[in-house]
């Protein structure tokens, strides 16, 4: 099997860790990433490094599908029906996806507040 990573919005993480995911910038799926819906959420496959990731929530899958059309990651989460209170947990999941290059920060220079 290909190397596998799991991304879950509710996995226990180090609570000392500060919230660092930049919610208020634009994000896209990496151009080499394909998302496949599954009952538990989604499978993501990156054709560049041939790695598989799991997204363990259907809401997060919806947010990923909305990323490209959303000016910011925060809006994608909200439009996927994820309440503000749950954003930090999803931020950790997004950070994992960013570290593994499944999602990438949008390159557009946009200095509007």
């Amino acid at each position: 099997m290909t190397a596998v990573r799991t991304t879950s919005a509710n996995e226990s993480t180090n609570h000392e860790q500060p919230e660092t995911f930049p919610f208020d910038t634009g994000w896209d799926l990496h151009e080499h990433v394909q998302v496949r819906p599954e009952r538990f959420g989604a499978l993501l496959y990156h054709y560049g490094d041939r790695r598989l990731s799991f997204v363990k929530s259907p809401e997060l899958r919806t947010a990923l599908e909305l990323l490209a059309a959303s000016p910011t990651a925060r809006l994608a989460l909200s439009n996927a029906g994820i309440p503000e209170a749950a954003h930090p947990a999803h931020g950790r999941a997004l950070s994992t996806l960013a570290t593994t290059n499944m999602i990438v920060q949008r390159q557009r220079e946009d200095h509007t507040p």
């Binding site: 596998v4 799991t6 394909q34 599954e38 009952r39 054709y47 041939r50």
Partner: protein, 417 residues
């Protein structure tokens, strides 16, 4: 689907979802031909001769259309030697152009410098070169004379073309476990990645399994090596029966047959796993009404494999959670009950059972495409001064047409990708 697994856990784990099956396979192998220029003694698909019922180019494209519509990320193409098919590159291109990535296994016969350059240009194609010895002597005893040099030339071509991270795929045997570091060095030399998989008694592998499967001590060595080096090395999730030694190796650690893994054979038959080419594990055919999608999602066999399985005698074992009783195919083809220990159970719990198996009733593969003229018998390298196969060497011939009865190619590749 409602299963007792759903009832056991309020929040099913990922493994639970996998056990219940996914809407599409994660790791599917598609053997495009039984035709092969080699005659490896352990070939899991007993390849050699082309099957006249082999899927046509158009039928193959139809399969790819289905895979694409199901969201299958990539297929592991093998054989036989898949590059023997004259439409091989056409099929690969068609898959890639339809969003289905390809990883293909080859013995290297058709990987010249020019082809290597083309392959290096695509992110959607991965290549796996089969090699079963880090030295010519050890490799050629299993894969046949000339096969080591062919593989090395292909690796040189890929490295030269800048194809980083192609796979060197090794089936672990009694003769090559002590070459692990040498394989690793080869991988580094060619900027490749080492992939090691388990020898299973499938296909012709059943005939040599007694002689070639690693000894108990070697299993321990292999486990320790994987604990130390596992991060860099792919295993196709092959060795989860070794988890019973202690710390679990990276991977999903479950038998994925019919749940996340399956095989499409050259005539379109769909089996639960590449190592289970037997009527008992035949779920349907891609040419049946409903095609591959219906076989994957609705066949009786796959439905039953996705139901909770009994661990039988293993359930009382302290290692059951991580070992899961090992490999279904290994049990089946050694004549052991499927709900009991793996024949290579590291706690020794299969030894008595294996002793009681009546070898005349052990299941045999349902299909055999071996070329009688090319048959090799395996003689352990350790007890002969030189490779024993020279006497049965066949001249290597270039593949001319895909319908040649005894053309080029072959090897063992694995199942889980």
């Amino acid at each position: 689907m409602t299963t007792s697994t759903d009832e056991r856990h309020t929040t099913p784990t990922l493994i639970d979802h996998f056990e219940q099956g996914l809407d599409a396979p994660i790791c599917m192998t598609w053997e495009l031909t039984y035709s092969c220029n080699l005659a490896c003694v352990h070939c899991l698909s007993s390849s050699g001769r082309r099957d006249p019922r082999e899927l046509t180019t158009e039928q193959c494209k139809g399969v790819i259309d289905t895979l694409a519509s199901m969201g299958v990320f990539y297929v592991n193409i093998g054989g036989g030697e898949p590059t023997i098919r004259s439409d091989f590159w056409e099929i690969v291109d068609y898959a890639v152009n339809n969003g289905v990535g390809v990883k293909f296994s080859t013995n290297g016969s058709n990987l010249n410098a020019e082809r290597a350059k083309q392959l290096a240009e695509s992110d959607y194609i991965d290549v796996q070169i089969s090699l079963d010895g880090a030295t010519r002597e050890i490799n050629d005893a299993v894969r046949g004379p000339g096969s080591f040099d062919t593989a090395i030339t292909a690796m040189e071509n890929l490295a030269e073309a800048g194809f980083e991270g192609f796979k060197i795929s090794v089936v672990m045997t009694r003769e090559n476990v002590d070459q692990l570091d040498a394989f690793d060095a080869l991988a580094q030399k060619y900027s490749a990645q080492l992939r090691i998989t388990r020898l299973r008694p499938a296909g012709r592998g059943a005939d040599v399994w007694d002689q070639l499967h690693p000894t108990a001590n070697q299993q321990r060595e292999l486990y320790d090596w994987l604990v130390a080096n596992g991060e860099r090395v792919l295993t196709g999730d092959s060795f989860f029966h070794l988890n019973a030694y202690g710390e679990a190796l990276p991977g999903l650690n479950l038998c994925g047959a019919g749940r996340v893994v399956c095989l499409i054979d050259p005539i379109g038959d769909v089996y639960a796993c590449p190592f289970t080419i037997h009527d008992e594990f035949l779920a349907g055919n891609v040419l049946d009404a409903g095609g591959f999608r219906a076989v994957w999602q609705e066949s009786d066999l796959f439905t039953s494999l996705r139901e909770p399985q009994s661990g039988g005698a293993c359930e009382s074992c302290s290692a059951y959670d991580s070992c899961r009783g090992g490999c279904m195919a290994a049990k089946f083809f050694t004549g052991l009950p499927l709900d009991g220990p793996d024949p290579e159970c590291v706690k020794g719990n299969a030894e008595d059972l294996l002793g009681n198996v009546d070898s005349t009733t052990t299941p045999r593969p349902s299909l055999d495409h071996s070329r009688p003229a090319a048959a090799m018998t395996y003689t352990p390298v350790s007890i002969t001064a030189k490779p024993p196969l020279a006497a049965v060497a066949e001249p290597r011939v270039a593949p001319s047409r895909s319908c040649d009865e005894s053309p080029l190619a072959g090897f063992a590749r694995d199942a889980h990708a």
